[in-house]
Symmetry: C2
Subunit: 226 residues, 2 copies
DNA sequence: ACCTGAACACCGTTCAAGT
DNA sequence: ACCTGAACACCGTTCAAGT
C-alpha cells in the first residue's frame, strides 16, 4: 500500500532496458560520432558488462536500428487537418529538418538502417492524408509522398553535411579557389561568393516552395473538398 | 625499340597502386556489402600483405573516400549546351540515378564521405551552368543547384533502399497488413496496393517533373538568351 | 621507395557459469 | 530471467626490419 516506491536504498542503479541502451547509444553518437559507438563503450557508459546488453538487444545491428527508430520517433508530427494542405505539407517536410538538427550525428545511421516499427509509417500516412485532402487520386498521392520524402531526406543529407560530397566542399574549401581553374569550372568560380555564403534555411525553403508550387499546379483527379 | 612490353615473364603481378586498391574495395563492397570491407580483406584480394596498402592509402577512412570518389567519377555528365536547359537538368539528375544503379552497395559510403577532388565539382558546375542558361541570377542559380542535388540524392536514397526507412517498409512488409490498424494508418492501408507496386522509374520522373515544371514557372532575373 | 610480419589495442559475439 | 568473465576470431594501425 506504500505506492510503487518500495525501497529507499540510495539510488539503486536503474534496470537495464532496451530503451536505456538505445538512449546511451544515441548520446554517445552525438557526443563522439558514429564511429565511436561500440557495444563495449555503451556497456561502460551504463556501468554494466558488455554481455549484459545482449539480454536486451540481439546484436549491434539491432542496436543501430533502435537508434534510427529513436530519432524517427522524435519527428514532431502534430497536424491540423483544417489547415490548407500546402501548409500541412510544409510542416511535414520541416519536421524532418528539425529532427536532423536535433540529432545531426545520428543521421548517417538513420539514413542507412531500416525502421520496422509502425513509427516509420507515420510520415507516410501524413503525406498520403494531405495529398488526399488536396484532391489527388491514390496513385498520384503515393508519388507525391515519395517526392516529398525524397526532398526531405536529400535536403537534410546536403545540409547536415552528412554528404560533404559535391557542392559542400565548395564552401569548406573557399581558401583554395586559386587552384580551381576557371576554365573547367567557370560558373563555380564566378559564383564562389554565393556558394560560400550560408543560408540553409532559405535554401531549404526554396526547394520546398518549388515542390509545393508544382503540386498546386497539378490537375486533380477528384474534387478538392476535404 | 620493342615497344612498351619490355618483358615476357608470365603475368608479373601488377604493381600495387591507389587506384587498384580502390577498385578492389569497390568490388568487394558490391559483392559482399559495405560491412565486409576491411583492410585485411582488400589486401587478401590483391594477394598482398595488409601493411602494403598503407604505402598508398594513409588509412581506412581515406580508402573509403577513394571509393566515394570512384563512384562519383562514374557520373556520366556529357552535356549539350544547345539543348533546352530543362533537358539538360533532367539529364544531370538522371546521371545520379544511373550511377546509384551501377554501384548500389557503395551508395551508403558515397553519401557519408566527402569528396575533395575537383571531380565532385562537376555536377555543381553543370547545374549552375544550366541555371545560368535558363536566365536565372547567381543566388537563384545556387539555390536551384541545391534543390536539384537534394532531390537527386534523396530519390536515390529512397529507391536504392539505402533508406529502408519510412515508406519502403510498406512495400517489404506487405504481408503484415493485417497487423496494421486501419484506425491509425487509414491512408496507408487504403493505398497498400499502390504502395506495394513498384515503378521506381515513374516515381523518380514524377518528382523530377515537379521540380522542372516549378523552375519553368519561376520569374527570371535576366534574359533567357544563352 | 616499397614491402612485410609481429605486436598492440580494440572490436562483436559464443559459451559456460553464475544468481 | 538476467547478469557476468573468459575466450575466439576478427579489426585498424604502429613499429622495426627487410629489399
Amino acid at each position: 500500500m506504500n505506492g510503487d516506491v518500495t525501497s529507499d536504498t540510495p539510488a539503486p542503479r536503474p534496470v537495464l532496458t532496451r530503451a536505456r541502451i538505445v538512449q546511451a547509444a544515441v548520446g554517445l553518437i552525438e557526443r563522439e560520432g558514429a564511429d565511436a559507438l561500440s557495444m563495449r563503450r555503451v556497456a561502460a557508459e551504463l556501468g554494466v558488462a558488455v554481455m549484459s546488453l545482449y539480454n536486451h538487444v540481439p546484436n549491434k545491428g539491432a542496436l543501430l536500428e533502435g537508434v534510427a527508430e529513436h530519432v524517427i520517433a522524435g519527428l514532431e508530427l502534430e497536424d491540423d487537418p483544417s489547415e490548407p494542405w500546402q501548409t500541412r505539407a510544409r510542416a511535414l517536410v520541416r519536421a524532418f529538418r528539425k529532427v536532423a538538427h536535433d540529432y545531426p550525428r545520428c543521421m548517417t545511421i538513420v539514413l542507412t538502417h531500416k525502421i520496422d516499427t509502425q513509427l516509420g509509417l507515420r510520415p507516410a500516412e501524413r503525406a498520403l492524408a494531405l495529398a488526399d485532402a488536396a484532391g489527388f487520386d491514390g496513385p498520384t498521392s503515393v508519388r507525391i509522398m515519395r517526392a516529398l520524402m525524397a526532398y526531405a531526406l536529400g535536403a537534410q543529407l546536403r545540409e547536415t553535411g552528412v554528404v560533404k560530397t559535391l557542392d559542400n566542399l565548395v564552401e569548406t574549401q573557399a581558401e583554395s579557389w586559386a587552384k580551381l581553374d576557371a576554365a573547367e569550372f567557370p560558373h563555380v568560380v564566378a559564383l564562389s561568393e554565393e556558394l560560400a555564403s550560408h543560408d540553409p534555411e532559405t535554401d531549404f525553403e526554396f526547394g520546398l516552395d518549388l515542390l509545393i508550387t508544382a503540386l498546386d499546379a497539378l490537375p486533380r483527379g477528384r474534387s478538392q473538398s476535404r
